[in-house]
Amino acid sequence: MSATILYWAGGFALLCFSLGLGCAAIRLIRGPGAEDRVLALDTLYINGMLILLVLGLRFEAGLYFDVALLIALFGFVGSSALAKFLLRGEVIEP
């Protein structure tokens, strides 16, 4: 019973997250501004991380946690590098 409930709830969450990922992808594709795209990429990463967490719950495997942790820690590096590039014209300044 518990397993069934959790299975369906997890499935629902996964669906929501992947739909969210889809929304972010649409924004990423449509733009219009570069900032919009960076934001969308950031969102993609968050949704991806959540998907991994839920997968970890479903499969009772701690391994997914590591990937999620890494996204939480470094998912922002790409988007902040992009943001800095947009802001300053170079990622690493003298």
Binding site: R58, F59, A61, L63
Partner: protein
């Protein structure tokens, strides 16, 4: 799942090849990146797909059938790293070429009409 992954590989490979056929160096490098994803997924797929069976073994239960094929994964790891390295190198060559030839055409010169 198989057909989804197959389609994904196809789309990635197609976009990658399209970009490799384009004349600008940056297009080429993006093509390399996309084709790289496709190839990595392809290698991975050669181990057949397994959901919820990571190759981290329970010492008491080392039945190969209950784990995903680890070997393609190891190969993909190598391929990812090598791909990263070559992308970096190509990027720098691209920059050097742009700086020296004043064009970002892959041939180092514009082919005018």
């Amino acid at each position: 799942m198989e057909w989804i992954l197959a389609l994904a590989i196809g789309v990635l490979a197609g976009s990658g090849v399209w970009l490799l056929l384009r004349p600008r160096t940056f297009q080429f490098i993006m093509g390399l990146a996309l084709l790289g994803y496709a190839v990595n997924l392809f290698i991975f797929a050669m181990g057949r797909l397994r959901v919820d069976a990571p190759p981290v073994i329970d010492p008491a239960w080392a039945d190969p059938a209950s784990y995903a094929d680890p070997l393609p994964q190891a190969l993909v790891l190598t391929a990812i790293v090598i791909g990263f390295a070559t992308t970096a190198l190509f990027l720098v060559v691209l920059l050097a070429s742009r700086g020296m030839s004043d064009t970002d055409h892959v041939d180092g010169e514009e082919h005018r009409a």
